[in-house]
């Protein structure tokens, strides 16, 4: 199991999402959310959404280990 963290405005779409999930990659987590949490899955599909595993920014395909914390961060591009 990996722990999930939805940072910033992504947390507005994460009501009811389990805090832990079984998945091998962040991309798989997104895929698992499509059916029950389609709005969140859509937000996660935006360009520039970042994934961090144990606070290290990684690729969506990085292999996850049991106990990892997987954080999703929405794009922040304005100025």
């Amino acid at each position: 199991m990996v722990k999930l963290l939805f940072f910033g405005r992504l947390s507005d779409y994460a009501n009811g999402v389990p805090t832990q999930i079984q998945a091998s990659t962040a991309a798989e987590i997104r895929q698992q959310l499509v059916t029950e949490h389609p709005l969140l899955a859509t937000e996660l599909s935006e360009p520039q959404v970042l994934v961090a595993v144990n606070k290290q920014i990684v690729d969506w395909q990085q292999a996850l280990q049991d106990g990892d914390e997987v954080a999703f961060l929405p794009p922040v591009t304005g100025g």
């Binding site: 940072f7 910033g8 405005r9 520039q48 954080a71 591009t77 100025g79």
Partner: protein, 247 residues
Amino acid sequence: MSLSDEQFLRYSRHLLMADIGEQGQQTLLQSHVLIVGLGGLGCPVALYLAAAGIGRLSLCDADTVDITNLQRQILYKTEDCDQLKVDCAKTALQQLNPAIDVVAHASEISAEILELGADIVVDCTDNLAARQLLNCHCYQRATPLVSASAIGWEGQLVSFDFKANRRLCYNCIIDENAGDPTMNCANAGVVGPVLGAMGSLQAATVIRMLLGQFDQHGEMQRYDAKTGRWLYLTASPKPLCAICATE
């Protein structure tokens, strides 16, 4: 050259600090910083750097002041509407600190402006293309880059000391082909003080860099003002990065 009596008074709160002092203030006075984008981030950056006595500030923005800017772009007044931002900013900054040199470039960022030799470039832009252009230029010229962004209640800061570190750049974190998200400040809004917080952090980072006190190359800070939470993240160089994996 030693500080004048007026400078001793103006910068006295810096001079009191052991890790700035007269030598540090001289460094700031001899520095040149380019601020790209004079919006919600660029305004606090410019104000703090002018107040700190950065000797030369180059400002780059093609836009005019609009009434919708005034909720957050704290350099401008109501009567500035329809005037060029860089001209209004220059006037305000020179009122704040008449001794510094403020150069206004009323245009989009260009190679010509980037070639003017700034010691640090501050990315206060609002789109991916501009951010990538600044990243590429700063990497190639080994110029430190201080980049921030904001939307809604959220802010982001990431800085690169390309003089000291030749791997890991903005493109390693945000791919140049990612495209701009559908949400931006114009269609989703932004809270003014979030821009103030991130712009203030950019200004503090610039001062740290100029004083040789920066060691957080490529580390990212994220701020969610709605919950008061910060997140600190690290990143790794992308093995095939088109910018920094080519040397």
